[in-house]
């Protein structure tokens, strides 16, 4: 991690919107002054419900890396069950951020890394707003709100602006609300 470049990994399940979140973050970060951006999924055939990964690199200097991200500055987990497969001491850089979608968190972080742990109950927010696709809560936009609160790298207004450019109607309003609520409710542990 440097003040110039940030490597961000999204862990989710097919259908939760990890790829879309990565793309929206890319656009918002660009608006907020990160001139060098990469947003890409883990390149494989994806299915609903299966674990998926998506990556965002945002930088103020040229990004020459064309590999997936193996150790992140910011790791966002859309489904807490996926944590079992994540080696936290390896996959988060010292001083990095871990942002999880969880009602409550009952695990301890490898302390040597000084990782900052943030929590938001995105499932709850999405379900209350009936923000669902195929019966499942769509939590990606909540996590973007939480990202903004936790890291301060991208402004909430910018995320809202990109969301406005992405959708319309009822779905847009729900997502705007979701981002705002998640921003409000996201807290450090």
């Amino acid at each position: 991690m440097s003040a110039q470049q940030w490597a961000i990994t999204w862990y989710g399940r097919g259908g939760q919107g990890a790829v879309t979140a990565s793309n929206i973050l890319a656009k918002a970060a660009f608006i907020d002054g990160f001139r060098f951006i990469q947003s890409f999924p883990f390149f494989s055939p994806e299915r609903r419900g299966a674990p998926v990964k998506s990556f965002t690199r945002i930088g103020k200097t040229v990004i020459n890396d064309y590999t997936s991200i193996h150790s992140s500055d910011i790791l966002i987990v859309l489904d807490l069950k996926l944590l079992r497969n994540i080696n936290l001491s390896k996959e988060i850089n010292p001083g990095g951020y871990l942002i999880v979608n969880a009602a409550d968190v009952s695990f301890t972080l490898p302390s040597k890394n000084q990782v900052k742990l943030y929590q938001v109950d995105a499932n709850n927010i999405a379900l209350n707003l009936s923000l669902k696709v195929a019966g499942l809560p769509v939590v990606n936009i909540c996590m973007l709100g939480a990202f903004s609160k936790a890291t301060g790298l991208v402004k909430l207004e910018t995320i809202l602006r990109v969301i406005e450019e992405t959708w319309s109607g009822d779905f847009l309003n729900k997502n705007l609300k979701a981002a705002e609520l998640a921003y409000e409710k996201c807290k450090i542990l």
Partner: protein, 397 residues
């Protein structure tokens, strides 16, 4: 100011094709090229793409449609990958030998079996001798910019050859990055809408039927076949200087350049030069930065134009180097890396002592990290110092 959008390589290509006033598009979808076809067809549906899209049942038919359309003198575009390119093979040769300025994007992907949809350059390098120009890009912005340059180059009367624009599957095609779009007025100035002119053959006109590509017997008029082949070779060589001129003009209008036939990084004082194509080059830049801090004098070169091969430029840049390390994201079984053989042939006539070392890396989309390349350079460097010879290096997991 020009609009900047966050686009994947595929969408950047589709935007550029839309702006190039292409007359006919015929393409068959294949991963990882699919988004290009998707984007172009949805632009057509939305009424913002003027081109005629002809639907086809295979890549071979796509190229056949392109050939027929190009014979009428109109601007033609197609895109494919891997298996699709291989299926086109016979007609690729036909298009080039007919001197048809078709532009095609090949999104590099490994060939099966086993099935693999990820990046590798073997698919397009297999077609290196069919007579198409081949240009390799290493960023979304470059891909976007090159589409216009490719049409311009292909359509020059002294060149008049098809151009294959290659980009890394997924690493460029599916990675979204900022892309600065060019104002349509500038494109119209750079790439006029009018069809190209030709002195090489009359355009196809259904009211005046002609036969194209008829039999030439080696007994009666064999010289003619020879002549056409030599002319194709000459046109290929012409394209080297023309491409430089086109890039200068583009640079003046748009303000972006990428090195001419080659791109390079910190090579002027380097003893060791890493040569690669596509996004591998970006990764080698990181390696150069790491190794420079440790005191190694390393630089990097990227081959942008692979056909015609820029022999003279390679010679000029590598003549006084200690070692040239070639990273090949391809494999010709029985020979090794294809690029390293081209480099060896280019440098042979110099009769220098420069060591040429070949490494095969990243086949079938396997990741090549900065660390991988750094370790390879160090191992190769030590072996050179200790006068240890070895064959190909394999950078594999």
């Amino acid at each position: 100011m020009c609009e900047i959008r966050i686009l994947t390589g595929n969408y950047a290509v589709a935007e550029a094709v839309k702006q190039s006033n292409v007359d006919v598009i015929a393409a068959y979808p294949i991963t990882p090229q699919t988004q290009i076809v998707e984007a172009l067809t949805s632009m057509k549906e939305a009424g913002i793409l003027k081109s005629r899209i002809i639907r086809v049942e295979s890549e071979r038919s796509a190229m056949a449609v392109c050939i027929g359309a190009a014979f009428t003198g109109c601007r033609v575009y197609t895109a494919t990958s891997s298996q699709g390119l291989a299926l086109m093979h016979e007609l690729l040769y036909w298009a080039a030998a007919s001197r048809l300025p078709i532009v095609m994007t090949n999104v590099n992907r490994a060939l099966a079996p086993p099935w693999n949809i990820w990046v590798e350059h073997t698919d397009s390098l297999l077609e290196r001798d069919v007579g198409w120009l081949q240009i390799y890009a290493s960023s979304n912005q470059e891909v976007y910019d090159l589409i216009f340059q490719c049409f311009k180059l292909a359509e020059l009367p002294t060149v008049q050859l098809p151009v294959m624009l290659c980009m890394d599957g997924f690493l460029i095609s599916h990675t979204a990055t900022p892309v600065e779009l060019i104002d349509q007025r500038i494109i119209d100035e750079f790439l006029p809408d009018s069809p190209y002119t030709t002195s090489n053959y009359p355009f196809l006109d259904i009211n005046k039927p002609l036969t194209y590509g008829n039999v030439i017997s080696p007994v009666t008029n064999g010289k003619l076949y020879f002549k056409y082949r030599r002319l194709a070779h000459k046109a290929m060589l012409n394209s080297l200087s023309k491409f430089k001129i086109i890039q200068e003009e583009f640079g003046r209008l748009v303000g972006r350049t990428y090195g001419e036939l080659l791109d390079s990084y910190k090579i002027s004082d380097a003893d060791i030069v890493l040569i690669s194509m596509g996004t591998l080059f970006n990764q080698t830049i990181n390696t150069v930065n790491v190794l420079r801090k440790e005191g190694y004098k390393v630089g990097a070169i990227r081959i942008r134009v692979f056909r015609p091969f820029p022999c003279k430029e390679i010679q000029r840049l590598c003549k006084y180097k200690q070692a040239v390390l070639v990273l090949d994201r391809n494999l010709a079984p029985g020979i090794g890396g294809i690029l390293s053989w081209e480099i060896k042939s280019s440098l042979f006539e110099l009769k220098t002592d420069v060591k040429i070392i070949s490494a095969v890396a990243g086949l079938g989309g396997v990741e090549v990290t900065t660390n991988d390349i750094t370790n390879f350079v160090k191992t190769a460097y030590n072996n050179i110092k200790n006068k240890k010879c070895r064959g190909i290096y394999w950078i594999s997991p």
